[in-house]
């Protein structure tokens, strides 16, 4: 990294000061500094700025910090409440030590959920149209905002409105997809079940960062990835037509994209064509289940 005879760059000096250089490069930088007053002066300048910044950082914020005692007591109280609510969790831990009981209970649970799932599907077939779907549970339709608050880069209207289609629908790299699944605790994810989606779309200035990505299930019946795609297109069109401020579009989609859809499409339910792709899959399965029921 560092040539013995050449001067280290500012970045290398900073890395050396922060003990972030590989051992060999660190030795080379130290040896160079011992013989070069110019670089020592640059190093001292960097150190001086660090000291000044640290002081400003502390002095501008520390006087605002309230005493820790009150917040600590509040946290303890909240943890106590959480602990008491989670007693079921400790039962589960005890339960894990009884393998026979666990197997039996898991079998019962599997049968129960199969029956429940079948019943729901049969009811589903008798109620046609998007209205019925609104009552179905929509797990994962909104991201966990503590993990995915949304992130943007500095863009102008002309930047977002001159983006190519490839830039707007940029593919998320596999390594980042895996990180998103990991962050959401999803193991053995079936790629077809989720779209790793941008909360704030690139077409609205959103960036490819983990704080702007979440696994959006295609399996959500009403508020699914296709519906969100339609919202992104609508907001992009409105921004480029000068009908909507870019920052408002970013804020609305990041805060609650379903509410944003309702607001900008002036409807409480997504267009039926957008949920139809999911319907087709569901109905095929339902027909199969129903066929089994009629034969037996």
């Amino acid at each position: 990294m560092v040539n013995k005879d050449s001067h280290p760059s500012d970045e290398e000096l900073l890395l050396a000061a922060d003990a972030e250089l590989p051992a060999r490069s660190a030795i080379q930088v130290r040896a160079h500094l011992a013989g070069c007053w110019d670089c020592r002066a640059r190093m001292a300048e960097i150190e001086g700025t660090i000291v000044a910044f640290s002081r400003v950082h502390r002095q501008s914020l520390d006087p605002q910090l309230p005493s820790i005692d009150g917040p600590r007591a509040k946290l303890r109280a909240q943890l106590g409440e959480l602990e008491s609510k989670c007693e079921g969790g400790s039962m589960w831990q005890r339960f894990q030590f009884a393998p026979g009981l666990r197997t039996a209970a898991l079998l019962c649970a599997a049968v129960f959920f199969c029956v429940l799932g079948g019943t729901l599907l049969l009811q589903y077939s008798t109620i046609r149209g998007a209205n019925s779907t609104a009552v179905i549970f929509e797990a994962g339709a909104e991201p966990d905002h503590s993990l995915t608050p949304g992130a943007t880069r500095r863009v102008t209207i002309s930047d977002v409105c001159s983006m190519t289609h490839e830039e707007v629908v940029a593919e998320v790299p596999t390594s980042l997809r895996q990180k998103v699944f990991q962050e959401y605790g999803i193991v053995n994810a079936n790629a077809g079940d989720y779209e790793i989606d941008y909360l704030i779309a690139p077409g609205l200035g959103g960036v490819e960062a983990i704080s702007n990505l979440w696994p959006e299930p295609y399996t959500s019946r009403t508020w699914n990835a296709h519906v969100k795609d339609a919202l992104e297109e609508r907001l992009h069109e409105m921004v480029c037509a000068g009908q909507l401020d870019l920052s408002t579009a970013q804020r609305d989609i990041a805060a609650d994209w379903i509410a944003a859809y309702k607001k900008y499409f002036r409807t409480d339910r997504p267009q039926p064509s957008l949920v139809s792709q999911h319907f087709k899959t569901e109905m095929r399965w339902h027909s199969y289940v129903k066929g089994i029921g009629e034969r037996s």
């Binding site: 972030e20 400003v56 917040p71 008491s84 992130a151």
Partner: protein
């Protein structure tokens, strides 16, 4: 650690709190409180640096430790919990910032802070010079992109480059470049 007496005198030491305190805390609860004692102030400073008001920043910090409790209860990864809690704080503070729509007030609040700070230097001339220097640095700091500001703040809180990269979702090289560039700008501002 706060004593029972000091806790009971607090206004929000409710019946629920007393019930919770009267029972023996679990290992996870104790661990979370230890983390709280160690990281509450750094996290609160970090949340405040986004320009959110103190009570919101305090809420963000509380939520971080409640998330940590749930994280540990679900036996999720314990690898580098310091980076994990800063990442959650970063995300929650950003969310709070969006919700408050107070991003434009940030600079004003920082300026106010710069005006109000006092340096315990012995004479008024040094005091004035120190205040001017702080103002210059704060002004240069506020002009930096948010990611660069976050890199500096996180480093000032003692995070290593790898941890900063994890918190901000950027590469190790990007952290190093950001810090070098920001320090160069602050140095130039300081020398003006």
């Amino acid at each position: 650690m706060a004593t029972m007496d000091s806790v009971n005198r607090l206004p929000f030491a409710t019946a629920a709190a007393n019930t919770a305190l009267s029972s023996e805390p679990s290992d996870i609860e104790r661990e979370v409180i230890e983390f709280f004692d160690q990281f509450r102030n750094p996290l609160l400073r970090y949340a405040l640096s986004f320009g959110v008001p103190v009570h919101d920043a305090e809420e963000v910090t509380q939520e971080v430790f409640l998330s940590l409790f749930r994280h540990l209860q679900l036996s999720r990864s314990r690898k580098n919990l310091r980076a994990w809690i800063f990442r959650v704080a970063h995300n929650l503070a950003l969310k709070q910032l969006y919700a408050n729509q107070r991003s434009t007030a940030k600079q004003a609040s920082d300026w106010t802070l710069a005006e109000e700070r006092f340096d315990p230097s012995p004479n008024p001339e040094e005091q004035l010079s120190s205040a001017q220097r702080q103002r210059r640095l704060l002004s240069a700091l506020c002009a930096l992109p948010q990611v660069d500001q976050s890199c500096l703040r996180l480093r000032a809180e003692g995070l290593r480059y790898r941890e900063i990269a994890e918190v901000l979702g950027i590469s190790l090289g990007a952290v190093s470049i950001s810090l070098t560039r920001s320090l160069a700008r602050l140095t130039r501002a300081d020398q003006r």
